[in-house]
């Protein structure tokens, strides 16, 4: 019996060691993450977080925002958003408002956060060309955005240099001064200034952890259903067998 279990235990241990040793090899070789806490600008009162994980030339962006302007012309408000690159890698202060209209426009913010490196669109093109395409912008006051796409070289370089900045655009026009409400967008003249001005901004910094996506599957469920009815039944069966043995013994004694 001892010999047999030892015989089983050795290959089992070997298998386990092999699995344990294989684990790191199965993992993605490198995984680097960048994180940003998005702060409100232009008095948007919004907030959010962004994680960008780069592995094998692909970027996975996970973003959660809340408190943005909810509607625009009766429809969910489209919030164009980008990773800006090549600037100072910071978010603009009120000093950026050179026109003194109380609003930091996208153009006024550019010396701080740079130009568009990647458009965080919901589908299709992620290049700067899609920068003002409202139909592929996430919409509404609160949204979770997650997308994986090939990362272009200029955005990667800016991430590594610590100068990549996430900017989410689109203000509630009602929060602007009467004069600013009448202004046209500096980017898309057919739109009001509020529609394209920055609402959230955060610099992407290197993370200490290569961020996993989602939660961890750390259970098999074996104890989720409470007492093991099979074992209880087996125990009951053993009691019956014990009683049967005693009855048989008594019978034998009488004979």
């Amino acid at each position: 019996m001892l010999k047999k279990s030892a015989f089983i235990a050795v290959p089992a241990l070997a298998l386990f060691a092999a699995v344990a040793a294989a684990s790191p090899a199965m993992a993605a070789s490198t995984s680097t993450s960048y994180q940003a806490t998005l702060a409100p600008i232009n008095g948007s009162h919004a907030s959010g977080t962004v994680v960008v994980t780069v592995a094998g030339g692909q970027a996975t962006v996970t973003e959660k925002v809340t408190g943005l302007a909810a509607t625009f012309g009766g429809k969910p408000y489209p919030h164009v958003q980008h990773i800006h690159v090549g600037g100072k890698g910071v978010c603009p202060t009120t000093a950026a408002d050179t026109s003194k209209d109380g609003v930091i426009s996208t153009t006024e913010g550019a010396p701080f956060y740079g130009g568009i490196g990647t458009t965080l669109s919901t589908s299709g093109d992620v290049s700067p060309a899609a920068g003002t395409t409202l139909t592929v912008a996430p919409a509404g006051s609160t949204f979770t955005y997650q997308r994986t796409f090939p990362l272009n070289a200029v955005t990667l370089a800016s991430l590594q240099a610590g100068t990549a900045v996430v900017v989410v655009h689109g203000l509630d026009p009602a929060t602007l001064s009467a004069a600013a409400q009448k202004e046209k967008s500096d980017l898309v003249p057919s739109l009001p200034l509020a529609a394209t001005s920055p609402a959230l901004c955060g610099t992407l910094v290197a993370s200490q952890v290569g961020m996993p996506v989602g939660g961890a599957q750390t259970g098999g469920g074996g104890t989720s259903t409470g007492p093991n009815l099979g074992l209880l039944g087996l125990g009951g069966g053993l009691f019956v067998a014990a009683a049967g043995t005693l009855v048989a013994r008594r019978k034998m004694a009488r004979n």
Binding site: G210, M211, P212, Q217, T218, G219, L232, F239, A241
Partner: protein, 231 residues
Amino acid sequence: MRVRNENGSVGGHRLMAVGATVLVLAGLGTVAVGLWGNSPPPQPPTALTTPTPYPVPGSPVASPVTPAKLTPARLALSASVPTRLVIPAIGVDSHLIRLGLNPDGTVQVPPLALHSPAGWYQHSPTPGQIGPAVILGHVDTYSQRSVFYRLGDMRPGDHIAVTRADHKVAVFTVDRIGDYPKADFPQLQVYGNTSTAQLRLITCGGDYDAATGHYLNNIVIYATLTSTHPA
């Protein structure tokens, strides 16, 4: 029930008595295992896991995630792979394997086998380094309790000792406990940058979804490095 010595079948009687005793003991043992071995894992009380909103910079409530006792940066250690995890409060003593990422970007977990150890996520700092070191373990297997079965019993103030390959032990003290739906896992709160040496212990919690074969929640223990000593 007295057995006379002159009875020829005394051996048989004795054997049967022993057999009955063995059967009763086996029955008791089986019932005990059936009851004890499979009671659902302990869950942290909701009073301890009430979510704190993620801090908004510039707002007056910007520091609820900061542990009460800040570790001086000088307490932090350089990098060294962790080899063993000991948690006296819940009877855990496990060697540690290395875990990476699955192809879909989710975190790897240890093998779902009996006596499966806990594992250190190799894309996180090593325990004792500045930043959040991440250790994962199963709450149960398909049939039995596993290494982090009692993680939900941990409380602020409990100690966690991690032995490293450099023969140093990093001792962490629990700050708080999180209980999150996997569908809305607070990635940045759990894995985000920290200015001190931190530890995150992660296992499963909440209800079990038999359709997917997964628990719906994750329990996360947040701890801060409070001392180090030679192994």
